[in-house]
């Protein structure tokens, strides 16, 4: 828009030099103020808590509580004390493995269930399959905050209280609706003709699912898997309500209930715990960013 529409004649260039020059400067500074400045503010504000978390985790206590003599935004002499305390004097490694186990099991359980359900709804079209899909979607709108009290009584009656199975079985309630919805969209994008060809060649329905549809739907499965993994890693209220003993707690619950003791908070250890607890998800996420973004946006668009 700001570019001159046509190349001006040579003698006009000198006269018009001031014009385009100021215009381009104007548009550049305008772009600076309208685009880069707000964007930089957003990025700084969105990332600052992580920076603060990381920097606190590596600061020695002397620097941590003295802003006047040490610049609070930098570390003078980094230390691994907080992380050592966390790894060797608490059961943090145990919490990490518990969380990992629960997240992986819940993810696989929900992927299995929702792949089959999505295949049935999208490919084995039957009367009312749309309504089943809608019902599963509506299940996603039921928030865990409403369910945790009755689920707690159920978990208690089933004898699952304080075991990882309580979490592995309840997490799919919010994972399955999402994954099913995502996979329905994915299956829709796979040409139906491929399956018809396979049917003509004499493949059974199960062979079609395992040999044709699933290999083609791998990107969708990866997206659903990543989403489920991060959601179950982040889950809090069920883990808080159903788990009592210290060694069975998941990382988010354990940090809040086991590390916060007394009136004096060990901020260094707390931040180190938060940092270590966020890292697996962040690393996992960084490998699959594109899948993640596409699943997020795809699910919303559906």
């Amino acid at each position: 828009m700001t570019k001159p529409a046509a190349a001006p004649a040579p003698q006009d260039v000198a006269a018009a030099a001031a014009g385009p020059e100021t215009m381009s400067w104007d548009s550049r500074s305008r772009r600076m103020v309208m685009l880069w400045l707000p964007l930089a503010c957003f990025v700084v504000i969105l990332l600052f808590p992580f920076y603060w978390m990381a920097i606190t985790a590596f600061k020695p206590n002397a620097e941590l509580y003295d802003y006047r003599t040490y610049n609070p935004f930098l570390i003078g002499s980094p230390t691994l004390d907080h992380i050592r305390l966390l790894l060797f004097e608490t059961s943090y490694p145990r919490w990490l493995t518990t969380t990992m186990t629960v997240a992986v099991c819940a993810t696989f359980l929900s992927l299995f269930a929702s792949t089959l359900a999505a295949y049935a709804i999208q490919r084995l079209r039957f009367r009312g399959s749309q309504y089943v899909g809608l019902a599963i979607y509506l299940a996603y709108l039921v928030p865990p905050s409403i369910l945790f009290i009755p689920l707690a009584t159920m978990v208690f009656q089933l004898g699952l209280f304080d075991t990882p199975f309580a979490l592995i079985l309840t997490y799919p309630t919010f994972l399955i609706p999402f994954c099913t919805w995502l996979l329905i969209g994915y299956f829709k994008s796979i040409p139906y003709e491929l399956e018809e060809c396979a049917l003509i060649d004499g493949a059974t329905r199960l062979q079609i699912l395992t040999r044709i549809t699933l290999p083609l739907a791998i990107p969708g499965l990866i997206s659903a898997g990543i989403f489920s993994f991060t959601l179950s890693w982040n889950e809090f209220i069920y883990a808080l309500a159903f788990i009592q003993s210290s060694e069975n707690k998941t990382v988010p619950v354990a940090i809040l209930t086991e590390l916060v003791t007394g009136d004096v908070y060990q901020w260094g250890a707390l931040m180190a715990g938060s940092l270590l607890g966020s890292l697996p998800v962040a690393i996992f996420y960084s490998f699959f960013v594109d899948y993640y973004v596409s699943s997020l946006t795809g699910a919303v668009k559906e």
């Binding site: 685009l35 957003f42 969105l46 990332l47 808590p49 009290i149 809090f236 996420y285 997020l296």
Partner: protein, 321 residues
């Protein structure tokens, strides 16, 4: 010649037609449908639909931990209606949802519009921006708790020592109103990425030809936003807003991690109040009643955002359904 071709030509081997009964069963469509739907529907029925019903039933009983309750009718709700703490939680839940949703969508839309322009490292910026949404909420809530510390808050330090605007540290979590707004701030911080990335996806589906036509007609930037971007974005905005309202209203983690409902119960949301009464307090019936009292608000909010915003079909004059 012809003899040789017939003998060396492709030999037709008859496919073994007799499959096992198991294979036949798995090829029978109704059976396959049932088998495929069974795990998902079974899990959802057992751990979602049944507890939902059980929760409503519990709300009408006086169940406590370790003792199954009696049907007491509306007593729990009558008690709640006279409970100032419940009214306080209702007020704060509505206030929290209203302010946070407004801020999240304002800022999120702005961020989405910024990201929709031509930028270098666009996908990197997008990946970085989503981080607050990926990281476990409780863990970032703990970071906020530390940022809001009364003595060592970095924000207070900035205002007092660096900028010199204030003389005293800001008391973020010590009294009711600052604590309420601090929690809203943390919620907005966490919610912006989701809103921005979803709306960005919506923005990218708007055909550029509309903007070109509007430019030719001499429209201003505001007109292009008001008459092209916004209407085209409404359907996706409605869906994202429905989700956002539901999950903000029933938020639990942030409040539980940062204030646990304090100071003096001023920041209880309905979810944290239900948890406090139900699990540590042991009054399962009363907790369930508080949780059930969220349902009308949720249904109302969903209907509002759906019907107020998702009007594209009517506007296009398609069949009403």
């Amino acid at each position: 010649m012809s003899v040789t071709t017939t003998t060396t030509g492709p030999v037709w081997v008859r496919r073994p037609a007799e499959q096992g009964w198991l294979a036949k069963l798995f090829d029978w469509k109704p059976f396959l449908i049932v088998i495929c739907l069974l795990p998902a529907v079974g899990l959802l029925m057992t751990f979602l639909t049944y507890p939902l019903g059980l929760g409503v039933w519990l709300a009408f009983t006086d169940t406590t931990i370790g003792r199954s309750g009696q049907w007491i009718g509306l007593e729990n709700f009558e008690y709640l209606l006279e409970d100032p703490l419940w009214w306080n939680a209702v007020f704060y839940s509505v206030f929290y949802t209203g302010i946070a949703t407004f801020a999240k969508f304002g800022l999120g839309l702005w961020l989405a519009l910024l990201l929709n322009q031509h930028l270098p490292f666009k996908s990197f910026v997008r990946a970085v921006i989503l981080l607050p949404w990926i990281v476990p909420t409780v863990l970032s809530a703990i970071a906020f708790w530390w940022i809001y510390d009364p003595q060592f808050s970095i924000i207070s330090f900035l205002f007092v020592e660096v900028l010199g605007i204030r003389d005293t540290n800001i008391d973020f979590l010590g009294s009711a109103w600052p604590a309420r707004f601090s929690l809203i701030g943390a919620n907005v911080w966490r919610g912006i990425p989701f809103v921005a990335i979803s709306l960005l996806a919506g923005l990218q589906t708007i055909p550029p030809s509309l903007y070109e036509a509007a430019l030719l007609d001499g429209s201003t930037a505001w007109q292009r936003f008001r008459y092209i971007t916004f209407p085209m974005l409404l359907p996706i905005l409605a869906i994202v807003m429905t989700f956002s309202i539901i999950f903000t209203f029933t938020d639990f983690q942030l409040v539980y991690a940062i204030t646990r409902g304090g100071p003096v119960n001023s920041t209880h949301l309905l979810a944290t109040l239900a948890f406090q009464r139900g699990i540590p307090g042991g009054q399962l019936g009363e907790g369930a009643a508080i949780a059930v009292s969220m349902i009308p608000f949720l249904v109302g909010a969903t209907l509002f955002s759906y019907f107020a915003l998702a009007r594209r079909k009517w506007q296009q004059g398609e069949a009403n359904d």
